[in-house]
Symmetry: C2
Subunit: 129 residues, 2 copies
């Protein structure tokens, strides 16, 4: 079974020095969504948090040696599925971002931990329960 | 740009009446991961929460009319990216599940809101900050 996705937009940021994770990022930037999906953004408001699902487009290909990895900020070798490493069988990333403003097809956000140009696959409401 | 993923496993549950969302589910089931990725599960422990990213394999194809949807439990027509609808440009789902036990390549979980057989794309640690 093969699943095919196309980006719905991309991440735009001027920052070159990207934090390792959204929980430690106050980098601002934009989520630029394809104009054809603009209507779907209508209930995203400043002050909310959103979940952004993206594609790690710059990682090396996955091989078995990446099943155990040492995250840069940890001492311990860790099972892949307990890390946020970009190198995974399906290189999907997830960040929770603060919405600063929405203008047309662009969501201005804080908390960026993706590099400029990262393809965005989906946006979801954030649930914290 | 086309992105291709393959499932790393699937959801197994006996339950036929699946709740609309993990926040209101206490359904138990299994996340069965391909044995070749078993080593990557080594730090997932009972009592933790995990984020499971999956593929809505049963939804209808996406068309523009789904950019605004009325979630079953809400009064209001809502912009797609503020809903958890399975019908989206890239039909990716996200659930936060409670880990009951891990045995070999199987994670026993509570909180299931996916149907039996749902393809799993990724598992990530849960961050609540």
């Amino acid at each position: 079974m093969e699943i095919r996705f196309k980006p719905i937009g991309y991440v735009k940021t001027m920052e070159k020095d990207i934090p390792r994770h959204w929980t430690v990022s106050d980098i601002e930037g934009e989520i630029v969504i394809d104009k054809k999906y603009k209507t779907g953004l209508k209930d995203i408001k400043a002050g909310q948090r959103i979940v952004v699902i993206f594609y790690f487009h710059k990682g090396p290909g996955f091989t078995d040696k990446y099943l155990i990895q040492k995250p840069p900020h940890k001492e311990k070798e860790t099972g892949l599925f307990s890390t946020c490493s970009p190198v995974r069988p399906n290189p999907i990333g997830l960040s929770v971002l603060d919405v600063l403003e929405v203008e047309e097809n662009v969501i201005y956000v804080r908390g960026i931990d993706m590099v400029d140009g990262t393809p965005v696959l989906d946006i979801k409401p954030y649930h914290n329960e």
